[in-house]
């Protein structure tokens, strides 16, 4: 493994800062991603000190991570929307239509047809909701791509019209509860993998990381592309594995609360004394992980993703280069509808039903997550993991401020300041780098 093709460029006066920068560059790490992770760590450490360590307990880390999932899932798609120089303001309303579809099916329609809590009912609801999400996305995508109406206008229309549709579907009232199997999608102790399965998932993820790094290195060498120095590969493998193991460890350190243990014991006619279950990785986190990997793959390894970034970089050149830009744009919006439907399932499961206001204001949260994560409104630039981290940073802040009991209006002030500072710092450091 001596053929490291890329060496750190020589510098006249390599200070510590420059060496760190080189390190990041040589290892081909995303500086902004590292910055976001650092921000997250700073937030947690800061609040950890403030609360005497309480806020770093597993249940707190799991709670905000689970709360962030709804926004994070949609944000992965919003990156592609913004990269292609478009916008989607309708996400909250599309989410609400899908969530209300799930809840109405399970609460209103199933009792008189197939029955509640059937093994397949919730899957059928999910399929129907996802179908509706994709159709709503396709309608908007068609109007944007083929009728040439600006995406701002079309999706603003979607924001209003689909919210109105929610009231029609619900008849104006809250629909609750969902099927019991469906509620598992919302996470919490009952919606988690459990201890053993969580370790299995961790092992699988580490295997995937190692396999991917090896495969990538071989492929690059085969085509004569530069590869990372071996030490960097090893460092990334170790870092990735540690993150996975840490995540599983934290998830398993959260145990079922007493109330659930007692319910379980009562249901099984056993004594609750001595009963103890590890909660494990919450299902919403598993879903988010799958979505993040899938959309990242789509964005960076498939033709579709290349086209999206090409269109964002220069729409005319992309069109002249033979890319079917219209179909590509329409597909982005279909994907958005799909992601909203997935997110809707988690949102509905988390409140065990659906209210007419579900997803209100999500468009700004989702766009914020994408932009904080490094997506540029100028188009062409943005990463999916960045957007996911952006969502997690927002919710970490919000949750920790709620935890210490700050009034909601002052929470908004703090969050706004931190987010603007984060983006300002990033812009500043980029300017220095060039």
């Amino acid at each position: 493994m001596s053929g490291t093709a890329v060496a750190a460029p020589e510098r006249q006066n390599p200070g510590v800062r420059a060496r760190l920068g080189d390190l990041v560059r040589v290892a081909e790490l995303d500086g902004r991603l590292l910055g976001m992770i650092l921000t997250l760590i700073l937030i947690e450490v800061g609040f950890g000190i403030y609360t005497g360590g309480q806020i770093l307990s597993p249940v707190n880390l799991l709670t905000f991570a689970t709360q962030a999932v709804e926004i994070a899932i949609i944000a992965t798609g919003m990156v592609l929307v913004i990269v292609s120089r478009n916008i989607d303001l309708s996400v909250g309303s599309v989410l609400a239509v899908c969530a209300m579809t799930y809840a109405v099916l399970m609460h209103e329609i199933y009792p008189t047809t197939i029955g509640v809590d059937t093994p397949y009912g919730w899957l059928l609801a999910l399929a129907i909701g996802i179908g509706i999400g994709c159709v709503l996305g396709a309608i908007q995508g068609f109007l944007i791509a083929y009728v040439n109406i600006p995406s701002f206008v079309v999706t603003l229309g979607g924001l209003l019209a689909f919210r109105g549709l929610v009231f029609d579907i619900s008849g104006g009232s809250t629909q609750a509860p969902d099927d019991k199997a469906f509620v598992v999608l919302g996470g919490g102790a009952l919606g988690s993998l459990g201890g053993t399965l969580s370790w299995a998932l961790g092992a699988l993820l580490i295997a995937v990381i190692l396999a991917y790094l090896t495969y990538n290195r071989r492929r690059r060498r085969k085509f004569g592309f530069p590869v990372r120095p071996l030490w960097a590969e090893v460092l990334i493998a170790i870092g990735g594995s540690l993150i996975v193991l840490g995540g599983v460890y934290v998830s398993n350190a959260y145990h079922w609360p007493r109330g659930l243990i007692q319910q379980y014991a009562a249901a099984h006619n056993i004594s609750p004394n001595g009963l103890d279950f590890e909660a494990g990785v919450p299902w919403p986190a598993v879903i988010l992980l799958a979505v993040t990997v899938a959309i990242t793959f789509l964005a960076t390894k498939r033709k579709f993703g290349r086209y999206v970034y090409a269109i964002g970089g220069n729409p005319e050149a992309a069109e002249l280069g033979g890319i079917n830009t219209r179909w590509t744009i329409m597909r982005i919006y279909i994907l958005m509808g799909f992601l909203c439907a997935i997110s809707a399932a988690i949102a509905s499961a988390q409140i065990n039903g659906a209210t007419n206001d579900l997803g209100g204001g999500y468009e700004l949260l989702v766009i914020s997550a994408a932009v904080i994560g490094g997506t540029s409104f100028a188009g062409g630039i943005g990463t999916i993991p960045g957007a996911v981290l952006g969502a997690i940073v927002i919710y970490a802040l919000r949750y920790n401020l709620q935890y210490i009991g700050l009034a909601s209006n002052n929470q908004d002030i703090v969050i706004a300041i931190v987010l603007v500072l984060a983006v300002a710092f990033d812009t500043f450091s980029r300017r220095r780098a060039t």
Partner: protein, 383 residues
Amino acid sequence: MRQRLAMVAAVAALVLSACSGNGATQAPGNTSAATAGATAAASGGTAGGCLIGVSWNNYDQERWKKADEPAIKAAIAAGGGTYTSTDAHDSSDQQNKDITTLINKGVKVIILLAKDATAVTPAVQQAEAAGIQIIGYDRLIEDPKALYITFDNQKVGTIMAQVLLGVQPQGNYAVIKGDPGDPNAAFLRAGMDLGGLKDAVTSGKVKIVGEQNTPNWDTTGAKNEMQAILNANNNKVDAVLSENDGMATGVSAALQAVGLTIPLSGQDGDAAALNRVALGTQTVSVWKNAFALGETAGNAAIQLCAGTALTAVKAPSDLPAASKPADLNTHLFTTPGNNQVSSFILTPTPIQQANLGDVISAGWVTKDQVCTGVAAGKVAACG
């Protein structure tokens, strides 16, 4: 929820309004029977003695068509009057135009569900100049010559605190409040203190371990707040005062996720919340009987039409006992704009497991809606 969206839209105007309230029933038999086939805009015929116009703000909200309008119509018909109406589609501008339309139609009394307490003033003055009497319905209008008919919103908070303290006199309380910009949220909270919460805290029986406003009365937001409060207190929370049923939906989900079933309040009489009351996962949903409100307004309109002086108007004597105002006379109410307005202030009704049957028999919700998932023999109303 519709009513919460309406709240947000009207935040600036709603000072002592009842917009969060879903209609409630317990209607006297004579009103509920006369409701079938109600339509949105009855044409303004002149049959009968008196033409009475209703200016709706947002008729598309389920409550008006379901409870308020039939009750108003029935009361007007009983008094020999004729009903006509307009809908402003949530626009102050349109509402001003609507009132002009009603004036031109020749109405004698206008029952006004105002979009905005002050923006509607030009049309109100125009109407009064034409000798028309205005009834401010459900929501306040800043006009000393109007009759104001609404529910006691502060009392809603009082009832919540009384009911919860009744079943859980001591322990850790969480308070999930509504939108920080909505005066109603603060009124409800003040009402809770009057209902004994403040005394219980002072005496040390109750400790408030978490209190948070919820922007836009958002369900998911309420759930997230409740999760933070539960985690911060190691799940040691004994009761939750939620200011409405939508937020109670989120709170209830957060409680269930950690296996807690504790006293929980709400308001609006949402079907989902009444179902939780039947299931035992919510203690009370405080309800504003919109049938009673409508009957009072329609009846007052007839009296005003017959020339009764504003201060001599009486509330109907056959209102459901739970909703009746303190007495049948009008009382002066001081508005935030420092106007003295004659008013009927009706009483909200707490709905708990024991009186769930009233809701079903009145036709506000069906037995199926309330009793889904309830084991036989557990709740009287569900059989």
